[in-house]
Structure formats: structure tokens, C-alpha cells
């Protein structure tokens, strides 16, 4: 009886809605998928055998691994020095650079992929320029090859690598470098013996993030690569649309999943175990996997501290020496990386104002014709409206369900909490194509393919995970005695939540809602599988356009898509900044 009473009061009950959605839309279908891949109830590995007996499959599999590994490696080679230079820069420069990395991170991957088509295409910016200058007489084959795939993928994934790295590097205790120097370590030695090992968690989470993302996100390779550059995920998606042979699809999906899990466990679990706090560190390392969030704390906490020991820390961080030459080399490097990250978007925005009958760079005249065409064409603005509707529904559903779950998890025993959080985050930690396939199956069973409800449910899987991560981290910073104080003043549990907890975690809840909306607004892979061709969201319409005929209106759409996150970023920034109670203090101090 007493146990029963206790169970009834357990906050874990609040996670039920989240797990119900997860289980119905994703959990059960993925189990069915696995069963069909092993031919249950016959239980055989024939499907896997068949997969590997076809040389074409094996080639695609190796190609997938090769592209993912190389793209991850390139991101790391470019990202590590960039992150290091960002962290060692002066505060003002650092904040600017971080913002410049966050902007592309928040920008639609589809829009950025489109930007590369515009730049690298046969009639693209580069070829046009070279033709114009008379350097070449026929367009160079810059697009639809492996190089273009790498250029596009590294461009898309680089923020995913840089942000966790910066986060990890900013967490390194500054006095450690000073200590190493005081013990006679020369700058380079101090870097390799102290700084580098301490930055490894960032290397790990950045690499994991990029690698798993590469495995599942087929949009960029499909758009920029040639026919021979297909990834396994492209194959899977194609199979769903051409011939829905479930056992074959399931097999490919599970092979992809197996690679992801192998890499996750190799990098993720080993290192966590080596740190000797596997159980508790697990949820945190997942938090790092949503880099934008990991950054938030550092980013916004810098403002109140900006006057504190600015020079001192900057100098200590200059592990690689301080010569003028190395400073210039560093500055040039960062500049190139930033141009690489930002210029494609900028070019598209500029081109979207072209006056001619097709897109030009630089535009010969300024006009709003493509924007007019976007707002005037029902197929475009209808798609935008659908996306907004779905996005709002996803934001509401996942914010409510995710906040409840985060609150419930926060009050659960730490070991159980770690496990449950990881489970809720599965849809954002495994290759997205696998989630898409499972969700497709789940929605088929529910009869929701091609319905808005179905799309909202499918997109909410990931969005709930995002909300849980953001709200959980906000809750972790919440002083529990505030709730006890409320209860000691006769506030019941609901009153305590509404009057004390919710106002205090509101920035996290709103942030979660914003990111849930953005997640939905950008989603292509899962949505394209479950939309059943009857519903067009904006990204779907764009994707279709990119693959078939390119309507210049897309430039206007892409520009708008790049603008939306920047606006959101400003909104969030203002809110988070103002939400910090200490800032009232700082502001009034500054005023006097």
C-alpha cells in the first residue's frame, strides 16, 4: 500500500506522454523493423547475407563510411584550430565569432546546400566569373562530383564540430595552463600536455555529432554529388519511394544503425568510462551533442563577466606563443573559415534580389521579383503556410510534453534519469534516415501517412528530445530550495510549479519551443518519407525544386529561411540575456 502511494506520487509519471509518443511512433516500429530484417519468426540472417552478396551494396556501404569518416576528419582539421582561435581571441571578437558560427548552424541545411549549387553549378557563380574573365571557355565540372560533396558537407557540418569544441575549450580551467607554464612547460608543451587532453571531450562530441549526421543526412550528397556518390541513406530513401520492400529497407537501415552504434559506443562510452563516472556523465555528454545548447551557457554568461580579468585569461590561453606572425596566420585562417561558412548564404541573399530573368551574381539590378513570386505563387506560399502550421503544432506539442518529461526526469533517481534521458534522445542521436524509416512504418500502422497529424508526430520525436535537453539543463541550474521554500509557505505542488518553477525555467522552455519550431521548419528527411506526396512543407517543396527544375524563386525562399533563424537568435539572445536576474544588478551597476 505504502509503495503504491509512493509510486503514485513519483514524478516519473510526467514522462509518460513523451514515452507514449516515442513508443508508438518510433519504438515499436523500429522493433518491427528489426524483426523483419531478421525474417522473424524464421530468424535468419538471409537478408543481411543478401545485402552483402551484392557488390553494389557493399560499394555504397564503404562509400558511406568513407565519405562520413573523411567529412568528419576534415571538419575536425578545420574546426579544431578555428575553435582554438575563437577561444583565445579577445572577448569581443570571440562573441562575434561564436555568433557567426551559430548563424549558419541555425540556418536551413537545405538552403545552404542550395547555395552551393548556385555557386558550383555549370552556370554558377564561379564558372560565370571565370567565363566572364575569359580564363576558361567552357564551364568547369565543379558540381556533381565527390569534391563538391565534401565542400558542401563540411560546410554544413562545420558548426556542429566547432560549437562543442569551443564549449569544451572554454570549460578548461585557465589556471591549469598557468600552472603548466610555472612548472617549466614551454608553450607548445603546455598545449599538448594540458590543453589538448582537456579538449578531447569536445573533439569526441563534435566528431560523433558530425559522423552520425553524415550517415543519415543524404540531402547534401544527393544534391551535390554525382550518381556514383550515393550514400546508403540515399539508397534507403529511394527504396521507400520506388519499391517498398520492408525487409530490404529494414536490413539497410539496421546496417547503417549498426555503424552509428558501433562508433557511438567506441567513442562515446569508452571515454565516458575512462573518466570513471559513466552513469552521471552520460546525460551531460548528450547535452553536449546539442551544441547550440552547450554553448548558450558560456555565451550568455560572458556578458556579466566581460570586465573580469580579460587580458589575463587571453594571454594565458595563448598556448602556441604570441609572435606577430602566428597572430596574423591565425587571423587569416579564421577569416577564411568564416568566409567559407558565411559567404554562400550571403551570395544567395544577394542573388535573390536579381532583376534579370534568371539569377545572377553580382546582380545587374535590384528587384523584389522573386519575393513577389514567392508570396504570389500559391504553391510556394501554401507550402510556407503549411510549414508554419506544422511548426507551431510541433512547438506546442513538444514543449508541453518535453517540459513535463524534463521535470519528471529531473526528480527521478539519477541512474534511472540517465537511462531514460538517453532513451528519449534516441531520435536525435541515431542517423535521421533510420528514424525516418521507423516513423514511416509507425505512421502507416496508425493510418497517418500523408496527414498533418502524422507529420507533427514524426517531427515531434526529435523536437521533444531537443526540448528535454534544453529544459533539463535549465532545471539542473534551478535551486531546489526555492521550491522547498514555496512548499514551506503552503504552496501545493501545482502552485509551486506554476508560481516558482515555471517562471524560473521560462527561458529554457521558450528556448526549447523556438528550437522545436526550427527543427520542424527545417526537417526534410523524415518529412519527405511520411508526407506521402500529399502535403508540401516548405523544405519539401524546395527539395523537389532543387532536384527537378530550379525556379529562381527558391533563392528568395532560401534567403527567407536564412533570415528566420537570425531573427530567432536575436529574440532568444534578448530573452536569455534579460532573463538572468544578476543582470539587473550588472546593469544598474554599469549605470551608476
Amino acid at each position: 500500500m505504502k509503495i503504491f502511494q509512493k509510486l503514485g506520487q513519483m514524478p516519473i509519471g510526467l514522462t509518460v506522454p513523451a514515452f507514449a509518443i516515442l513508443l508508438i511512433v518510433f519504438g515499436m516500429p523500429i522493433i518491427l523493423l528489426f524483426l523483419s530484417s531478421i525474417n522473424a519468426p524464421a530468424f535468419s540472417v538471409t537478408n543481411y547475407y543478401k545485402f552483402f552478396s551484392q557488390p553494389a551494396n557493399v560499394r555504397v556501404l564503404f562509400q558511406t563510411i568513407e565519405v562520413s569518416v573523411l567529412a568528419t576528419g576534415m571538419c575536425l582539421i578545420v574546426g579544431y584550430p578555428t575553435a582554438y582561435l575563437i577561444v583565445t581571441a579577445s572577448k569581443r571578437v570571440r562573441l562575434t565569432l561564436i555568433a557567426l558560427v551559430i548563424i549558419p548552424y541555425l540556418t536551413s541545411g537545405l538552403a545552404r546546400t542550395y547555395a552551393w549549387i548556385v555557386i558550383l553549378g555549370d552556370r554558377g557563380v564561379i564558372n560565370n566569373l571565370l567565363l566572364h574573365l575569359g580564363v576558361i571557355h567552357s564551364p568547369l565540372p565543379l558540381i556533381y562530383n565527390r569534391t563538391a560533396v565534401y565542400i558542401g558537407m563540411v560546410h554544413i557540418m562545420l558548426p556542429l564540430m566547432i560549437l562543442p569544441l569551443v564549449s569544451a575549450m572554454m570549460g578548461i580551467d585557465r589556471s591549469l595552463m598557468a600552472a603548466a607554464r610555472s612548472m617549466g612547460a614551454r608553450p607548445l608543451a603546455a598545449f599538448w600536455r594540458v590543453f589538448f587532453p582537456l579538449s578531447l571531450p569536445g573533439v569526441r562530441s563534435g566528431s560523433l555529432l558530425v559522423f552520425v549526421f553524415c550517415l543519415g543526412f543524404y540531402i547534401t550528397p544527393a544534391a551535390l554529388g554525382g550518381l556514383r556518390d550515393a550514400m546508403l541513406s540515399t539508397f534507403i530513401a529511394a527504396q521507400v519511394t520506388s519499391s517498398f520492400e520492408i525487409s530490404k529497407i529494414a536490413t539497410s537501415a539496421f546496417i547503417l544503425l549498426a555503424i552509428a552504434v558501433a562508433v557511438l559506443s567506441m567513442l562515446g562510452l569508452n571515454l565516458a568510462g575512462a573518466q570513471g563516472r559513466a552513469a552521471t556523465s552520460a546525460p551531460r555528454s548528450w547535452v553536449v551533442r546539442l551544441p547550440i545548447f552547450a554553448m548558450r551557457k558560456h555565451y550568455f554568461s560572458e556578458f556579466p563577466n566581460r570586465y573580469r580579468a580579460k587580458l589575463w585569461t587571453t594571454q594565458l590561453y595563448q598556448a602556441g606563443g604570441n609572435s606577430r606572425l602566428s597572430n596574423i596566420v591565425g587571423a587569416v585562417f579564421v577569416l577564411i573559415v568564416m568566409v567559407y561558412l558565411l559567404s554562400p548564404g550571403l551570395i544567395v541573399v544577394i542573388m535573390s534580389f536579381s532583376a534579370g530573368t534568371f539569377l545572377e551574381f553580382p546582380p545587374s539590378g535590384v528587384s523584389l521579383q522573386w519575393y513577389r513570386s514567392f508570396f504570389g505563387d500559391p504553391s510556394w506560399n501554401g507550402a510556407a503556410w503549411t510549414s508554419i502550421q506544422i511548426g507551431i503544432a510541433v512547438a506546442i506539442l513538444s514543449t508541453v510534453v518535453g517540459t513535463l518529461a524534463a521535470y519528471g526526469l529531473n526528480r527521478t533517481h539519477p541512474r534511472l534519469r540517465g537511462f531514460l534521458t538517453m532513451t528519449i534522445l534516441t531520435p536525435v542521436t541515431i542517423p535521421v534516415i533510420v528514424v525516418g524509416i521507423a516513423t514511416y512504418l509507425g505512421l502507416v500502422n496508425l493510418g497517418l501517412i500523408g496527414s498533418k497529424t502524422g507529420i507533427v508526430l514524426a517531427q515531434s520525436l526529435g523536437a521533444i528530445g531537443i526540448v528535454v535537453v534544453i529544459v533539463s539543463a535549465t532545471l539542473a541550474n534551478l535551486d531546489r530550495t526555492l521550491e522547498q521554500a514555496a512548499k514551506s509557505m503552503r504552496a501545493g505542488p501545482l502552485q509551486t510549479f506554476l508560481r516558482v518553477t515555471l517562471p524560473l525555467i521560462r527561458p529554457g522552455v521558450i528556448g526549447g519551443a523556438v528550437f522545436a519550431f526550427l527543427h520542424s521548419f527545417d526537417e526534410v528527411v523524415i518529412t519527405s518519407l511520411v508526407s506521402g506526396y500529399s502535403i508540401r512543407t516548405l523544405p519539401l517543396k524546395m527539395w523537389e525544386n532543387i532536384r527537378n527544375q530550379i525556379d529562381p524563386t527558391i533563392a528568395a525562399v532560401a534567403s527567407l529561411l536564412m533570415l528566420v533563424p537570425v531573427l530567432w537568435l536575436i529574440v532568444l539572445y534578448l530573452m536569455w540575456w534579460r532573463a538572468r536576474p544578476r543582470d539587473h544588478h550588472t546593469l544598474s551597476e554599469l549605470a551608476t
Binding site: Q484, S488, M489, P493, R499
Partner: protein, 349 residues
Amino acid sequence: MVKNPVLPQIEFRSVTKTYGKITAVRDLSLTVGCGEFLTILGPSGSGKTTTLMLLAGFEAPTAGDILIAGRSVAAVPSYRRDQGIVFQSYALFPHLTVTRNLEFPLEMRGINAAERTTRVRRMLERVHLGDFGGRMPSQLSGGQQQRVALARALIADPPFLLLDEPLGALDRNLREQMQIEMKSLHKEFGTTTVCVTHDQEEALTLSDRIVVMRAGQIEQTDSPEALYDRPATCFVAKFLGEANILENCNFELETDAAQPSGTVAMIRPERICIVAPDAANRGDADRRQSITGTVDDMIYAGPLRKYHVRVGSSVFIVREHVAAGQPIFRPGDGVCLDWLRSDIRFVAA
């Protein structure tokens, strides 16, 4: 404000609280009388906060029972208990102004807006924060925050008040000032108060009774004077003030009564006189004992002088008020220590 006529009595009956393998509180029995100011004193980790959290209803006892006014409160959630709590971190709601913070407990009790405004104003005046109602907690100094926390705990006139290290975050001067303030508030409201602290001075100044805790158990419960003057155990003697333990000495200890087994002899540093060797023994030699030693060290502490005197292999601590005409001894000086035999205490080892 009117004193609550029937103040409840708090009773712990063999309360045990375990967290997994850790026993935070073991078999604790304790009664807090009406209107009493009781302090739970103990080193860090001795289970003080846990005891307070049990009483507040934030933790449930693993075994035993807690009674308030004779009724078990095990099944009563904290928000249905009538209590005021001052948390160690104050726990002022950072998103509400001082006024809104003070109104919170009144609102929860369904008191109307007009009445709330009056009571908040009166309470703010009472804690000398009349002009601070519109501020956010982050715009207050530590001492002001402390007073707001105290005001918030008392404003709904709860029958008992719980304080967790209430002055721990304040600097020394402020702490003394707040001690006086708290004492006067307690006198005025007459609220039964349970205070938790590791600061012996705070405990001695404020309390009617002190409970000394060690490793989750009660070591001794007594009035401040009795606790200091007649500590029951060596731990209490050392935790509350300083103590010279007279063990393995190179002289025969002269005592009035026989030493009970399992005890050690103890004398407080201020009960020992330090004099030049030739000036020893002042008449009533039959009631005193003198020994000789060498000064190891001397520390000035404002109005006090503290000597470390080596006698054989042991070192005595001697504390003396600075007074005119008193000789000052330097390290290396030979001195004579003497004390009244009746100042020797036997404490459980």
C-alpha cells in the same frame, strides 16, 4: 502581534534516516518545547540539515516518527504544515520583488490583498527594510537578504520557525547584529524555533537549549551554560570552546572526587592561572593544584592572551584576560600553572 496561545510541541521519536548505505540520522529522540529556541549544533556532515528537513517534511523518516502537537506528521506533506523556514541560501524567489516575496506565504493562505499589503508593510518596517519593497532580491546585500528571508518566514505567523545555518553567509560584524535582531524577533513573536548551525558562538548566544550532534546522533542536550560548563563528553568539550584534556600527564592529578571509569579529566583554558614560578600558590593550597612548565608560544588576541605551555610531553592551552600589571611571558620562560580542583571536569572519552 499576538503570541500564539497554544504553541505545539515538536517531538522526534527514535527517528532514523538513511540514504542508501549512509545513515544521516540515527535513532534520534528529541522534544522541543513551546516557544523554545532550540539549536542543533554539530560539525559539517553530522546530520543537522537532515534533521531539519525531516522536521520540515521535505524528507520522510526511514524509521521512527515525528509528532507535532502530539500528532504524527509523517503523512502530512510539507505544504500542509504550518511553518516558516529560513534556508541557508535564503531561497528568496529571484523573479519576485521583496514585497511579492513577503506576500507569497500570505497569498497561499488565502489572505486578501488589502490585509497582505498592511502586513507586508509592517513586517518590512519591523526588519528595517521599509524602503526596499520594490527591489529584486539580487539588488540587496547579504544582510538585507537575510532579513527578508526572516521576515518572509515569520510574516504568516507560523507556530514554528526552522532556520538552517541562518547566519552562515554573513560576515562577522553583520552576524552579531543579526543575532541580536533574531533574539529580539524571537522574543516578540514567541515562535518555537529550531535552528541548525555549526557556529558555536551563534548557538551559545541565541539558544534556550542546544543539541550537540555527532555522526547522526545526539551527543548531549542542555542549556548553553550547562553545556559549556559541564560537557558530558570529550567531543562536546572540544567542539564547544577549547579544552585541555588531562591525560598521560607527568604529574599526579589532584581531584576532589574519584575519577569515574571511562572518563578523562578536562579543564577549560580560562580556568587556569599562569604565574611566574616564584609567585605560585596563593594561600588556599589545599583547594588548588600547581604545576610548572615552559611557555612554547604566546598569541595576542585583542583582549586575550593565549599561551601554549609545555608540561612534560603535553601542551596546555591557557587563556588570560589582559589586565594591568600582569606579567607577560615569552616563549622559553618557565611558568607555573595553577587551578582550582573544583574546575576539573570528568567527561566521557
